[in-house]
């Protein structure tokens, strides 16, 4: 079974600084998808960024970017110019191809942004 590991239960960053959240996963598949979700105090799950495993180029969405290392099975999230609104729980997630599109989530990293 696929597993997703987030080794940092909590992280903190100063406003305007950069922070990197780590994620590793275990899979024997070659075709899969990776995601980062944000869950603010409202508990609404928000998709931050996605990466297809067949793409070598790292995904970028404004201040959010990933470092996808397929051989190392690593998928870290970098947040640049951190803002107070970035404070949230961040979840890494993995989906194998196929018809059911199930997502397996890591346990999350709680990010605090200090003013």
């Amino acid at each position: 079974a696929q597993t997703v590991t987030q080794s940092q239960p909590e992280m903190s960053v100063q406003e305007a600084e950069t922070v990197t959240l780590s994620c590793t996963y275990d899979t024997s598949e070659s075709d899969y998808y990776l995601f980062w979700y944000k869950q603010p105090p409202s508990r609404q799950m928000i998709l931050v960024i996605r990466q297809e495993a067949y793409k070598q180029q790292n995904a970028t969405e404004n201040r959010f970017s990933v470092n996808f290392q397929k051989a190392a099975k690593s998928f870290s999230l970098k947040i640049s110019d951190s803002q107070l609104g970035d404070a949230a729980m961040y979840f890494c997630a993995y989906s194998r191809g196929g018809s059911n599109y199930k997502l397996t989530f890591g346990k999350g990293t709680l990010l605090t942004v200090n003013p």
């Binding site: 508990r43 018809s99 599109y101």
Partner: protein, 112 residues
């Protein structure tokens, strides 16, 4: 545009009472639908998923069941709630693996 509605937002139920949580999706057809539970503080556990009307797959044997009576409606039920059923329940949908999920706003269930 597609939207997902989940209700109720909050629910307090006594042990042994029944449960029905509902989730509906608008603006799309034949979505894959999912129920997740999030225990206090942490990760999401997949409970059920459905790839079509009447098709339900269970991931975790437990006190809950799910049904999909219509294409865009997904219901989570229990005949008799246990204390351990307390948690935050999230419904989600997707059409393709690379889309990721769109989540509902969740239901906070407290069994007392």
């Amino acid at each position: 545009s597609q939207t997902i509605h989940q209700w109720p937002a909050t629910l307090v139920q006594p042990v042994g009472s029944p449960l029905s949580l509902e989730c509906t999706v608008e603006g799309t057809s034949n979505p894959n639908l999912y129920w997740y539970r999030q225990a206090a503080g942490r990760g999401l556990q997949l409970l059920f998923y459905s790839v079509g009307i009447g098709q339900i797959s269970s991931e975790v044997p437990q006190n809950l069941s799910a049904s999909r009576p219509q294409d865009r409606q997904f219901i989570l039920s229990s005949k008799k709630l246990l204390l351990s059923d307390s948690g935050f329940y999230l419904c989600a949908w997707t059409k393709r693996a690379n889309y990721g999920y769109t989540f509902g706003s969740g239901t906070r269930l407290t069994v007392v």
